[in-house]
């Protein structure tokens, strides 16, 4: 004790500084330990409450496709978010007619009202789960509210709201939202493609093509990638317009990937000799889809290209040609003098399972 008081009464400033710094650090450490302890206690209490909630509601939601009880357990406000998560979880795993009862149960619990409340909370997680639920519940009356959230700058909030609109009424959403949808360059292409999945290709592709033809410009590359994700293809006329109005390399290479029109072959052939290798890569792949016997020399020339990827795609294209059988390919391989070309063809053949 005397020793400690010796420190406290020390006249050495260094000792005083060290002492008070240490006391401060000890104080903060003790506070942290107490905080960790109470945090853990609260966590345990929450987990227990959560377990009780799941014990009550999980069996009920799991069995609801076949039976909904007349009287539902009481749902406390503290479990609203858990309820939304659990209901959405079951919505994702229960498919077909069975999900009808899930919607009825959702209505009886009052999920749309609970979800709407979440939209105005500051926590983004709450907002997203609210938007997701309104979409899954196909809550038509919430269209204007969701429309408001679609126009928010935050990507995930906007995208989940857009998804909800497509769930409520896909055709209305397509007609009213398409220009806005494609203008949002922050939306991941695969996500938009997933949204559009519910609409048949023969409906969505003409709309996308028309939109692109009317707005050929900076957003074309994004739109073409979207078309690719939606398994759309373009014909000679569209491709001709693209290369005439937008000779940008990236747009051309994306457009090449979408061509399915044999009549466009004459437009594709010049790109096999393009200066940029990534265009030659796409030209090789497109030729692989459309080529006839007369185009084989062109593919063989690409097989000896200086760029590895061009050689690889040309080799894949050659091994995939429907008019070449195993014996033809082996003959072709033996006739190639260029070592790089023959190595690449060997690799592509091995990948295709040719022994």
């Amino acid at each position: 004790m005397n020793y400690i008081s010796g420190f406290v009464n020390s006249t050495d400033r260094l000792v005083q500084f060290g002492l008070w710094a240490s006391i401060g650090a000890v104080g903060v450490t003790i506070c942290l330990i107490i905080y960790i302890f109470f945090f853990r206690i609260v966590q345990l209490w929450r987990e227990a409450a959560q377990q009780r909630f799941h014990k009550t509601w999980r069996p009920l939601l799991a069995l609801c496709p076949s039976h909904i009880p007349d009287v539902l357990p009481k749902l406390s406000t503290s479990h609203h978010l858990s309820m939304l998560s659990l209901w959405n979880h079951y919505y994702n795993i229960i498919h077909g007619d069975a999900s009808g009862n899930l919607l009825i149960l959702g209505e009886r619990i009052g999920l749309p009202r609970i979800a709407r409340v979440q939209l105005f909370r500051t926590d983004k997680r709450h907002q997203l789960i609210g938007l997701l639920t309104l979409g899954n519940m196909a809550s038509r009356e919430d269209w204007p509210l969701l429309d408001r959230f679609v126009h928010m700058s935050d990507t995930s909030t906007s995208l989940v709201s857009m998804r909800a609109l497509f769930q409520i009424n896909p055709h209305r959403a397509l007609h009213t939202m398409l220009p806005y949808l494609v203008s949002r360059s922050d939306y991941p292409t695969a996500q938009i493609a997933t949204l559009l999945q519910k609409i048949p290709s023969h409906e969505i592709c003409p709309q996308l093509t028309l939109h692109m033809m009317l707005n050929l410009g900076q957003g074309s590359s994004h739109l073409l990638r979207l078309m690719e994700s939606c398994h759309c293809s373009i014909n000679r006329q569209v491709f001709a317009s693209i290369i005439k109005k937008q000779p940008d390399d990236h747009i051309v290479s994306t457009a090449l990937a979408l061509i399915s029109d044999h009549k466009a072959l004459d437009l594709i052939l010049p790109f096999t000799k393009h200066d940029r290798w990534h265009i030659r890569v796409h030209a090789a792949t497109t030729l692989g889809r459309l080529a006839t016997k007369e185009h084989l020399p062109l593919l063989l020339a690409l097989l000896a290209d200086r760029e590895w990827w061009v050689r690889y795609r040309a080799a894949q294209a050659i091994t995939g040609l429907p008019f070449l059988r195993t014996a033809d390919l082996i003959r072709l391989l033996n006739s190639i003098d260029d070592r790089y070309a023959s190595d690449m063809l060997k690799q592509a053949m091995a990948e295709q399972g040719y022994e």
Binding site: G6, F7, S10, D12, L14, V15, G18, L19, A21, S22, A25, V26, V28, T29, L32, I33, Y35, I36, F37, F39, R40, Q43, N88, N92, D123, K124, R125, L128, I129, L132, S156, L159, V160, R163, P188, A190, Q191, T194, W308, R311, Y312, Y340, D343, M344, K346, Q347, A350
Partner: protein, 465 residues
């Protein structure tokens, strides 16, 4: 004489103050970041968020004499939940049966790979493709070290991102999904590391962790807290400043084109993982290219820590040499005009506290102990300095435990937290001092130019039989 002593005292005091202020600042940044991260993480785990956007990944597994564990590791990797990935095991001229065990287990057949040799490596003897799993290839090459093996893997890989995994790393089913998120959210991301946790004491079944627990070995317990500190506030503190200088070689994802652009892994270094990251910062900064090197705080990879002093010493000596190589080879980043937060903050911090730290720490111990023995320093000041250093160590570890508690909560029982806190207290009596001596030894080995090699440590293993 007394003037010199006073100067020494002030040098140590100022070093101690700056070091702790630095740590506390990193803690504050980490605390802010973890809150934001957990919020975003919850959003991203929503069913409709970024699913379906994952780019394909090549997993590179360099292997040297890994005969005992490689088959189980590859089996576990094949079970990862990820839309499209390939596994490339690079056998670096192992002298045991690593290659043969892979050939037997996965029905490997020679594959005529038209390799695209963009990085120089030791000659490749053969490439094999599995008949059972078409996303598994094995590259057999002449011995050239870990960096050389990784470069060979990069050459052979097919996908735009590659993930480096140690052959003995234990991943989680969703590890790839988590570590790839930064690449989906920010196209400027060129590298992302994950949090590595220690698997000693845990139960592993079929290559995956089935139960988290603490080991009984106090040496490993101390390392668990060290890892918590290193990852939960060390890396999480630097990452938001885009000044992260280390991505662990045990688990990290990189954009292939950028790695090739900066020249790939540097062979003949022992710290090839850190050196690559520092070089990426240097070159990207010098060329004025926007980029992001980031960190995913989720515990996504588990590794076995050394459980005996000899292995631990070997590891720490190697780490210090790796640090010295990484910093000196990229020294032009230090206070570089274009260096940004890396050149003006993280790099100098690393040089002063991590590179030169062992010299100052060991000198400090010698100075104070000899001062106490020979009576040339104030006993009160020495005692209070020791107490301050002890309690600040406790404080920093307590923050790391708090970060763990509010974030990932990996250790399920309150008892675990208390044991770890006890380990933190014990760490100050012997472990810290030993660590400083080993690091100093690493510095001396580096200064003497000792050659590096594969850094294997003695493994006990914990697979449930």
């Amino acid at each position: 004489m007394s003037e010199y002593i006073q100067i020494f005292e002030w040098v140590f005091l100022i070093y101690f103050i700056i070091l702790n202020v630095g740590y506390i600042s990193l803690n504050i940044i980490a605390l802010m970041y973890i809150n934001r991260y957990i919020n975003v993480l919850s959003s991203d785990s929503m069913p409709t968020s970024l699913g379906g956007m994952e780019p394909p990944i090549s997993i590179l597994v360099p292997a040297y004499n890994e005969e005992t564990g490689i088959v189980a590791s590859v089996h576990a990797m094949l079970q990862l939940h990820y839309p499209e990935f390939e596994i490339l095991v690079v056998n670096d001229g192992s002298s045991d049966d690593t290659l043969q065990s892979l050939i037997n287990e996965f029905d490997l057949r020679p594959f005529p790979e038209a390799a695209r040799l963009r990085l120089e490596t030791q000659p490749i003897r053969a490439v094999y493709l599995s008949k059972k799993f078409h996303n598994l290839r094995v590259v057999d090459k002449q011995n050239g070290g870990k960096a050389d093996s990784l470069n060979a893997g990069i050459n052979i890989s097919r996908f735009p991102l590659f993930c480096v995994v140690d052959a003995d790393s234990i991943m989680q089913h969703n590890s790839l999904q988590q570590v790839v998120q930064p690449f989906i959210e920010n196209p400027l991301t060129i590298a992302a590391g994950g949090t590595i946790r220690i698997s000693n004491g845990c139960t592993v079944e079929r290559g995956f962790l089935s139960k988290v627990a603490l080991p009984h070995n106090p040496l490993v317990l101390v390392q668990i807290v060290e890892y918590l500190r290193a990852f939960l506030f060390g890396r999480m503190g630097w990452a938001p400043l885009n000044a992260l200088l280390i991505i662990s070689g045990a688990f990290g994802v990189f954009k292939k084109e950028t790695v090739i652009h900066v020249g790939g892994y540097r062979a003949n270094t022992v710290g090839e993982d850190m050196e690559l990251v520092v070089r990426m910062h240097r070159i990207m900064r010098q060329q004025g290219k926007p980029y992001s090197i980031t960190f995913v705080p989720d515990p996504i990879c588990w590794t076995e820590a050394p459980s005996d002093l000899a292995s631990l010493k070997s590891q720490r000596v190697r780490w210090q040499r790796g640090l010295a190589e990484s910093l000196t080879l990229n020294f032009s980043l230090m206070f570089n005009r274009k260096g940004g937060t890396v050149g003006w903050l993280a790099f100098p911090y690393m040089v002063i506290f991590e590179l030169l730290g062992p010299f100052l720490e060991v000198a400090g111990y010698l100075f104070f102990f000899s001062g106490l023995i020979f009576g040339f320093i104030n006993t009160d000041a020495a005692v209070i300095f020791f107490i301050a250093s002890f309690v600040f160590g406790l404080l920093l570890s307590a923050v790391a435990l708090l970060l763990e508690e509010i974030s990932f909560h990996v250790y399920p029982k309150l008892r675990h937290t208390l044991i770890l806190f006890l380990a933190v207290a014990l760490e100050n009596f012997g472990y810290r001092q030993l660590n400083s001596f080993w690091r100093l030894q690493g510095m001396l080995q580096w200064m003497l130019g000792k050659k590096g090699s594969w850094g294997n440590i003695k493994r006990v293993g914990h697979e449930k039989k």
